[in-house]
Amino acid sequence: MMARNLFIPITLGLVITFLIGPFLIIVAASFSAGETLAFPPQGFSLRWIAKVFTVESFRDSFYMSMFLAIGGTLAALILGIPASYALSRYKLPGAETIRTIVSAPIIVPGIIVGLSLLRYIVVPFQVGITLALFLAHTALILPYAVRVVSASLGNLRSDIEEAAVLLGSSRLGAFFRVVLPNIRGGIMSAFILGFVTSFNQVPVSLFLSGPGVRTLPVDMIAYMEIVFDPSVAALSALLAFMSIGIVFLAERFLGFSRYV
């Protein structure tokens, strides 16, 4: 009885230590006044946080990451919403196979996806770096889009579309008038999930990055190989807070956790 009483708080404590601990260390390190990335921080200053904004390659790769995260997610949604709709509303032959294929990028390790995209798509077809990254990110986000939007569609009765049609709406009109408004929350959740997935993506981006075109995480790794100062910690902390902010807003306005 005693053992069981202790089991839960100890497990909980360990989980929190390993999940939140590193994050706290990074945040603390980013306020360091020292010259190298170290913990405990030496002194207190905001100079590394300020430095983040002055490194030009960080700025470029941040824009690239933002472009991939937003553009890739939008593209994945434009493909994924109709796909989810077709999968959930029609009895398609091989629907299960399509579902499996669509979610393959989640299951297959990023390194393999990245390598095979590079070896069999990018090199033979001479695809530009930016386009290659964009296509890869879209493909990586698609499973999340299909999965979350499908869940949202599954909760929606299909007879409301027929009701709209009988009230004079076209089939397509019914989709825009009664389906989309009711899966808005799912679409927003898919967007946020896709955005975060893309933004944090390393292995695939690593293979596809090229001269002058990198995503932010890849750029941070490259930076650390040369300079080992706390600015990387500061950047990580800023990104973490950005992610927390997005999820917080999503939860606040959309009830994000209901859809995941």
Partner: protein, 341 residues
């Protein structure tokens, strides 16, 4: 009933892929009629309703409404209303906007739209709920919103899918009188689909009993209840003692049995449990089961004719299990079935 051929279904065959759900159906419904499609699940009643609405296009045959062939007219241009079993309200819209949905699509002028929507909501007694979302309403209220949403379009035909089956007993009475009121006030032609004979009997002017994709019998509630013409309909409306006739004798598991009195020319005879005379008659049975049902007692008898169900007034003294009783199946009261099987 100004137009007796207001809605006609001609040789209608409906199929889902290779599965034929309704075969060669012919039916004529008059303007202002209240018709019930009655039958067990899978009999094709819902399929037929969906074909009238235009949600399913027929494999062959025609649907004609108000003088026009609408077989190829799409569902959104038919002006046929459908109240779904699940109500199918739009969850993101208020009661007001749900009811206004169709009128907005028709670009009804704002003042007229508001007047008609308010009148529709008021007529179903929900004027205090106009700004609520469907999720904030009870099942009965949601159904009335669905009714108002269909009726505000002034449909030529209102189709209702199991309109009473999701409601509890008290709401059922409310909805039944609500539908009768709407029908009386607007004169709209109504067709409702149900598997519940009580629902069909109490609400419809005419009942179409369906079985395996075909019409089994059409008639007034009295006809269907008292004069079923087939064993299937008889069974469906509660005749529990059904026998096939051959050469004027009842076919039973233990051979042919002679009835007392002149036997009509028919394929079969059927008796409700309460038509069985208990205590006297040419047959003998053993009480195998007995149950008390308030006003009456029901007995299950083991007899040379097979199991017989009888129902008698509860005021009569009860019979013990195992008791030997005389009984009769009076030919005069039996329903005469013209088809058997």
């Amino acid at each position: 009933m100004s137009d007796p051929n207001f809605l006609t279904l001609e040789n209608l065959t409906l199929a889902y892929g290779d599965t034929v759900a309704v075969k060669d159906l012919n039916l004529t419904i008059g303007k202002g009629e209240l018709v019930a499609f009655l039958g067990p699940s899978g009999c094709g009643k819902t399929t037929t309703m969906r074909a009238i609405a235009g949600l399913l296009s027929p494999a062959s045959g025609h649907v004609k409404l108000d003088g026009a062939d609408i077989t190829r007219v799409s569902a959104n241009k038919r002006n046929v209303g459908l109240m779904f079993q699940s109500y199918a309200l739009f969850p993101h819209l208020s009661v007001y906007e749900n009811v206004a949905f169709g009128l907005r699509l028709k670009k009804t002028p704002a003042a007229e739209l508001d007047k008609r929507v308010r009148a529709g909501i008021t007529s179903v007694g929900l004027s205090d709920y106009a700004d609520r979302k469907p999720g904030e309403l009870s099942g009965g209220q949601q159904q009335r919103v669905a009714l108002a949403r269909s009726m505000v379009m002034e449909p030529k035909v209102l189709l209702l899918d199991e309109p009473l089956s999701n409601l509890d007993a008290r709401l059922r009475l409310d909805m039944r009188s609500e539908l009768q009121r709407v029908q009386k006030e607007t004169g709209v032609t109504m067709i409702f689909v149900t598997h519940d004979q009580g629902e069909a009997l109490s609400l419809a002017d005419r009942i179409v009993v369906m079985k395996r994709g075909a019409i089994e019998q059409i008639g007034s509630p009295e006809d269907i209840y008292n004069r079923p013409t087939s064993a299937f309909v008889a069974d469906f409306v509660g005749f529990e003692n059904i026998f096939e006739l051959s050469d004027g004798r009842l076919k039973t598991p233990k051979g042919p049995v002679e009835l007392s009195g002149p036997v009509p020319i028919a394929a079969g005879l059927a008796w409700r449990p309460r038509m069985v005379t208990l205590g006297s008659g040419p047959f003998q049975g053993t009480v195998r089961g007995a149950s008390f049902a308030g006003n009456s007692r029901e007995y299950l008898l083991d007899t040379p004719l097979g199991p017989i169900k009888a129902e008698v007034d509860a005021a009569l003294p009860p019979h013990e299990l195992g008791a030997e009783l005389a009984f009769d199946l009076p030919v005069g009261t039996a329903a005469q079935l013209s088809t058997f099987g």
